[in-house]
């Protein structure tokens, strides 16, 4: 009876490879329109769909595939976690390699598994009051964000360092290494080395999730993952479930001790269908071959005790803390450097929908979209911000709106995008070379992409630092033409702080209010 377990493992591999493929193709590939839904994993995620819909107070057409997963879960139980979840696959892979020989001491209390439900309650309650925290816990969001911001850039760096070394090495080595490098470059590596704020901490948090495997298999999935909790609730009455032909069972307990989710409890014939992720290991290892997965009803499960106190506390925490965040001063005076991607909804709706998955940062062609720390408050952490000193918004590019899974960034047609203003540039006249009478420079003007230039020159006499009067071409910003793309700030040759900078003033979406 090895076949179903093999099938499950194959499914995990296929899904993970698909995930990796879509991740790698969340990139400009000589085509203005991405040819397929690279964001499909997020759109399949009922937790993301639920939170964005609830907090955003809107029916979001993009997330309809999540409904399919929810319905399938009703029918099949929590198969998603065992068969489909790419984070689950990574965790299982870590388990099968790094933690293969780990002897786990000190059992994690079984009661901890209720935390995932309590987190879910907390998320639901806060989402109901427009504050969306789902980004902190959603496994798909975590995985894509981590790959985008940490894993992929780091991997890219390491591979580049290796092949750069080989490239510079003497003798025939480059002749062998370069074809390999060329292949990697065209299929896997980034076009240019991406860099991200918060990359180290995002990477460490992810390692933390994996490190918990040291204490318990699928620690994250059992105890913390609110998507797992949601699917458990939806799937606990699933028709497809584990069943034992009790007549042949010797009560050897192998299935119970081997279960990665501890879903078999007390009596080996009793399965907690909320916890069982249908990995089918028990079926594969049962020496008597009496375990089956089928549509037939087995023995009733023992319910997880969420405790009334726990549920109330979580709901209260979710709901009653919302006002504290709503009276943070940035609601009244937002950070002037908080420049959102083109097509971003008004700030309140934007944060309600944005799941911080990092898709927009991954696809941003100039690496300009970065995760925030606290520019948008604590609740805005890891949401996208255009940091023009790192990279600018490419005038003819609409990719971020194409990959956003919840419509927090609207998909804009190119003509509309070109008119969408992210902010406005201003010239720091005390530092700008011609303004300060230092030297000629036209770099901001030459890069300005609007067809009628939003940066123009006026030739004016200025006294240089040495006291001579000279003509300089001084840049002026034409505010009704500037779209705030930030290329001037990116390219300004002053190496540290640019002399032409963009702030969010005049942004197209701006309404100046947070969520109602």
């Amino acid at each position: 009876m090895m076949t179903t377990r093999k099938l499950r493992r194959a499914s995990q591999w296929v899904v993970f490879l698909l995930f990796a493929f879509l991740f790698l193709n969340t990139e400009y590939k000589d085509n203005d329109v991405l040819p397929y839904a690279v964001n499909i994993f997020l759109r399949l995620d009922p937790l993301v769909a639920g939170a964005a819909t609830l907090a955003g107070r809107a029916l979001i057409g993009l997330v309809w595939p999540a409904l399919v997963v929810a319905l399938l879960t009703v029918a099949l139980g929590r198969f998603f976690c065992g068969w489909f979840c790419p984070l689950g696959a990574v965790i299982d892979a870590a388990d099968a390699t790094v933690f293969r020989k780990t002897r786990r001491k000190g059992a994690v209390p079984a009661s901890w598994r209720r935390y995932k439900y309590l987190i879910l309650v907390f998320l639901a309650a806060s989402s109901l009051f427009t504050l969306q925290w789902v980004f902190l816990f959603d496994p798909i969001s975590i995985l894509i964000r981590t790959f985008t911001v940490s894993v992929f850039p780091a991997l890219n760096l390491v591979i580049h360092r290796i092949f750069d070394g080989l490239y510079r090495s003497p003798g025939p080595i480059p002749a062998f290494s370069e074809p390999v490098y060329g292949f990697l470059k065209s299929h896997f590596l980034a076009f240019e080395q991406p860099v991200f704020r918060t990359s180290a901490i995002v990477g460490l948090l992810f390692l933390g999730i994996l490190a918990m495997e040291r204490h318990q298999r699928r620690f994250w999935c059992r105890n913390l993952c609110p998507l797992g909790g949601l699917l458990a609730l939806v799937g606990r009455f699933g028709l497809f479930r584990r069943r034992i032909t009790e007549a042949g069972c010797t009560r050897c307990g192998l299935c119970e001790s081997d279960c990665r989710m501890s879903a078999i409890g007390g009596d080996v014939a009793v399965t907690d269908h909320g916890e069982c992720i249908e990995c089918m290991d028990c079926q594969a290892i049962c020496p008597e071959e009496v375990i089956h997965f089928s549509g037939t009803e087995g023995r009733k499960p023992a319910a997880v005790d969420l405790t009334r106190r726990g549920v109330l506390a979580s709901a209260a925490l979710g709901a009653f803390t919302v006002p504290f965040f709503r009276v943070e001063a940035h609601g009244k005076a937002p950070d002037p450097l908080l420049i959102r991607p083109p097509g971003a909804l008004p700030e309140g709706e934007f944060l309600a929908r944005c799941t911080r998955c990092g898709e927009c940062m991954r696809v941003c062609i100039a690496n300009g979209l970065q995760p925030t720390w606290f520019e948008a408050g604590i609740e805005g952490m890891w949401s996208p911000i255009l940091v023009s000193r790192i990279g600018y918004c490419e005038y003819n590019c609409t990719l971020c709106g194409q990959v956003c899974p919840t419509g927090a960034i609207r998909r804009l047609p190119l003509p509309e995008k070109r008119k969408t203003r992210l902010g406005l540039a201003y010239v720091d006249r005390s530092r700008c070379l011609p303004w300060a009478g230092q030297s000629d420079c036209i770099v901001c003007e030459e890069h300005c992409p609007t067809w009628s230039k939003a940066i123009v020159f006026r030739e004016e006499r200025t006294q240089t630092a040495r006291g001579e009067w000279r003509m300089f071409k001084k840049p002026y910003i034409v505010e009704d033409l500037c779209v705030g793309c930030g290329i001037c700030e990116t390219k300004c040759p002053l190496a540290d702080r640019a002399a032409v900078l963009v702030t969010s003033r005049g942004e197209t979406r701006s309404t100046g209010v947070l969520a109602k």
């Binding site: 000589d30 062609i365 490419e394 420079c441 890069h447 067809w451």
Partner: protein
């Protein structure tokens, strides 16, 4: 083919000469026929006194490809610049995320025609690249140059010999420039440093700092690092760059010319049809003539061309130019 000695230039080209009075003097002196006659008579003598002459080919053929071919033929054909087996770097302008119609990048047909000539002259390999200002992928695609070059290579089964590729950071080599006026040291692209011949294929256009951008400025595409910084002393830096990496042939695309809001432009109203190509082994001569013919600017008044003339990079006066039209 019509050969005109541009003798009129050195008649009026005095060190303190002002371009406008020079032009007016020229016109007053009897127009084109008179100038032609005068130059035909006196030019050889004067040229002998000043120094050797340099040919600049000017073609007005109908298509970009034909213009490129004619212009190069007028200065002796590609075989006089590229030898059998040469590794050639062909450097077009692919700097901007703009379409060919917007005339911020060299016309793709023009680029392909020059590449084809290099291969026909026996070049072992032709390498096409530019360090772009917008995202490199977008520039390569939307300029039409990547597609045109790759399609030509595929169709003619010369994929190995003719390649267009992106610039990689690791291939920039810190290069010192002896006796530099300003650019003592910079990261330059290894392929350009190691090439046997460099064929410079700029598009002529307006430039907000340099006034105009032609062959001299186009070679900034082999520079790494923060290029914005050399704008502080652009003319000197360009001279230094060309001293270190001399160009074998410059072929200027002046089919469509961006006359305002360069170098990136975007607005089709700023693009004027001009229908010419210029070619010369001397980048300063090519730029000088192009400045005059396209933009009605006296070369010495374009600061970086004037500086290049004064520094002995190429011709030191337009009087040395022999215009070959066809």
């Amino acid at each position: 083919m019509e050969i005109a000695f541009a003798g009129a230039y050195h008649v009026v080209m005095t060190p303190d000469g002002c371009p406008f009075s020079r032009r007016r003097f020229l016109q007053a002196a009897g127009g084109a026929a008179g100038a032609f006659a005068a130059s035909a008579l006196f030019a050889p003598l004067l040229q002998a006194a000043i120094g050797k002459t340099v040919d600049v080919g000017v073609s007005s053929a109908a298509s970009p490809a034909e213009r490129a071919r004619r212009a190069v033929a007028l200065v002796g054909g590609m075989k006089s610049f590229v030898s059998r087996g040469d590794v050639v770097v062909l450097k077009p302008n692919i700097g901007w995320d703009r379409t060919p119609e917007q005339a911020a990048n060299t016309d793709p047909e023009f680029v392909v025609a020059v590449a084809e000539m290099c291969l026909a002259a026996g070049a072992g390999s032709v390498r096409v690249f530019d360090r772009t200002c917008n995202d490199a992928r977008r520039c390569y695609v939307n300029s039409g140059i990547k597609d045109a070059v790759e399609q030509f290579a595929r169709k003619n089964r010369v994929e190995d010999a003719l390649r267009i590729y992106h610039v990689e950071d690791r291939k920039f080599v810190r290069t010192s420039i002896p006796n530099a006026l300003s650019l003592k040291e910079w990261d330059l692209y290894r392929d350009a440093l190691e090439a046997d011949k460099i064929v410079n294929v700029p598009i002529a256009k307006h430039h907000s700092l340099a006034g105009i951008t032609l062959g001299l400025k186009n070679m900034m595409g082999i520079m790494g690092g923060n290029r914005g910084q050399i704008h502080y002393r652009l003319p000197e830096c360009l001279v230094d760059l060309h001293r270190r990496v001399p160009v074998a042939l410059t072929v200027i695309d002046a089919g469509r010319v961006l006359v305002r809001n360069g170098p990136s432009g975007g607005n089709l109203a700023d693009v004027k049809p001009f229908g010419k190509a210029f070619a010369s082994r001397d980048v300063v001569a090519a730029d000088g003539i192009a400045a005059e013919k396209i933009f009605r600017l006296a070369p010495r008044d374009v600061e970086h061309i004037g500086r290049a003339m004064a520094s002995g990079l190429g011709i030191s006066s337009v009087g040395q130019i022999r215009l070959v039209e066809g």
